[in-house]
């Protein structure tokens, strides 16, 4: 206890910063700060302002450059580029084409179970910059296939299993996205240390495999442990309505072509790793889809969803303020103290990697960006302790990133899980726990993959 007081007294300003940051996060989650009055992003901006005032009072004013230098433009521009691609794909009808392909696949030897396996993993295959893009676009297919599967197997819980599997997959899919995903920031941080094999996309495969496991574990826990039963009449009505709609609509060949070009381009980026920034590739991709799908500029702008961008910026800004007033030094000192307890460094690392799911924000980018410098510093401290090699840094970063990316699924502050709950007519917030179980197991798997196989 004395040591903790000493750490706090050594840097009272940094300690206050840390206290305010976690205080705002917890108060938002507990509903003490009403979200319709002060959303968590705005609360964090006000916290930054308060910290700036406190820093002046303490005689250590925050240099504005400290905050702006922490706003990394590359992930933000990649995210904007990713949204433009999403807008172009939507306008070209590529998402409807994807639903149509799934329907055709269900009539092949893969059958319904095989198609459902593809469907629930579709968000990670597409890897859009925000999971809500595909959650909104493909949820009709998830409801439809869930309804058909539940009907054929005479088990209504299967509708919940399919829908929430799809939802948690969508939530986590912004982690490995090459279109401005959260992982890109971690890859850049670890890459700055010249760790062999770390570069653009080096965290993606580990994250994608972990997401498949997150999806599977969530589906299993819903089926066998949490038993989330849908409102059958609602699912049946929606499933039948979707069946009728899908049969009526005709999809143009350009929609399939757009989808094909998108997949080929993303695959080429990962395989060939061209020496061109991802932003340029995305803009070229947008132009190609625009030409093929007769897409207008307004369609592209309509594709830009501001919430994730603002969440990312608010995360960067609060991280800049915390860095500037030494809050991360306090955090690292506290974690080093904790590491001397039976928890050890491994226990501390596990705790920190799972913080985003313990405190789930409506967008994983908020806590992801705010705490990533702290996680990076913890990794460096662990590597310098002599017990661990330098590989501990990417291990810690990738597990934190996948946890942060997926954490918007179970968030009670308007997480993606709400989309599934609303559609299935279940109690609000009921899907949180099975998702959290899946995410925590997936976090460990992502760490294991990077630890054992390295960046694959």
């Amino acid at each position: 206890m004395t040591e903790i007081i000493n750490i706090i007294m050594l840097n009272p300003l940094g300690s206050m910063g840390l206290l305010f940051f976690f205080g705002v996060i917890i108060a938002s989650l507990r509903g003490w700060i009403p979200q319709d009055v002060l959303p968590v992003q705005s609360a964090l901006m006000l916290t930054t302002l308060l910290l700036a005032i406190l820093a002046v009072l303490f005689g250590k004013p925050i240099n504005i450059k400290d905050i702006t230098s922490n706003i990394f433009l590359h992930p933000i521009t990649a995210l904007i580029g990713g949204f433009l691609v999403a807008g172009a794909l939507e306008a070209a009808g590529a998402f409807r084409a994807a639903i149509d392909i799934l329907e055709r696949t269900s009539r092949t030897p893969l059958g319904l179970p095989g198609t459902v396996a593809i469907l629930v993993n579709m968000p990670t295959i597409f890897a859009m910059p925000c999971g809500r893009i595909l959650a909104a676009a493909l949820i009709p297919a998830a409801i439809l296939f869930g309804h058909i599967l539940a009907q054929r197997r005479k088990s209504s819980i299967l509708a919940s299993v399919v829908v929430f599997g799809f939802i948690v997959n969508a939530a986590a899919s912004c982690g490995p996205s090459p279109l401005g995903g959260i992982g890109m920031v971690g890859e850049g941080m670890a890459g700055s240390l010249k760790i062999p094999g770390i570069g653009l996309g080096s965290f993606s495969n580990a994250q994608s495999i972990a997401i498949m496991l997150i999806t599977g574990v969530t589906m299993l826990s819903i089926s066998f442990v949490y038993r989330i039963l849908p409102d059958e009449s609602l699912v049946k009505a929606e499933g039948e309505a979707e069946e009728k709609v899908e049969k009526m609509e005709k999809i143009h060949i350009s929609a399939y072509l757009s989808l094909f070009v998108f997949f080929i381009t993303i695959a080429a980026v990962f395989i060939l790793q061209p020496p061109i920034p991802i932003q340029t590739i995305l803009v070229i991709l947008v132009i190609v889809i625009m030409v093929m799908g007769d897409v207008t500029i307004q369609d592209l702008i309509g594709g830009v969803i501001l919430h994730p961008i603002m969440a990312m910026i608010s995360g960067f800004i609060i991280a800049g303020a915390l860095l500037s007033i030494g809050s991360f030094d306090v955090l690292i000192s506290l974690l080093e103290f904790l590491a001397e307890t039976p928890l050890g460094y491994v226990g501390v690392a596990v705790l920190m990697a799972n913080i985003p799911t313990i405190l789930p924000m409506p967008c994983g980018r908020i806590i992801g960006m705010a705490l990533m410098p702290g996680i990076f510093l913890l990794g460096i401290t662990m590597a310098n302790s002599g017990t661990f090699s330098q590989e501990v840094i990417p291990i810690l970063l990738v597990s934190f990133i996948i946890n942060a990316a997926a954490s918007c699924g179970p968030s009670p502050l308007g997480g993606i899980g709400g989309i599934g709950e609303g559609n299935l007519g279940t109690e609000i917030g009921v899907s949180g726990k099975p998702q959290q179980v899946g995410i925590m197991i997936g976090t460990g798997i992502a760490a294991l993959i990077i630890g054992v196989l390295g960046p694959i």
């Binding site: 580029g81 639903i99 909104a136 949820i139 920034p277 340029t280 702008i301 709950e421 609303g422």
Partner: protein, 153 residues
Amino acid sequence: MTVILLLGGLSMGNNPIEFGSISNILNVVNSIVFIGLILIGVYAVLMNFRTVLLPQRIGRIRSFGRQLNLDGLNCDSGCIGISKFSDGKMSIPVQVELDDNSIITADVSPCCICIDRLMVGDLVGVTRVGNRIILQRASRIHKLICGKNDRNN
């Protein structure tokens, strides 16, 4: 376009643009793309401020979907069952009743639906951006001006 080219050139910093080599041309293209994306981001943020603070019209959500459906009035979950209304699109159509009692269809992003917890009866601002009518939760200022509480049907 001239501005973007100029900014692209300026972003090259101290390196004079030599069009003789392909890598320099690529650098210029990359810089233009980079700055262009930032400008698009700034435009999107400004448009967002406009739709929140200065919407063209104020109205109330009457139902979710392309058609006016009063059954939706019972929805109180905060995150509506969007599957009925999403046709492979990432925005959700919403029926809004304007102050002159006319009904229009506007688009709202899935983030606004969940994070802003939009429900039937909520006061919203609508703005035409290009060929789309965008919907955002109305700011507190508008609620004060209208002198009505949220979800007051």
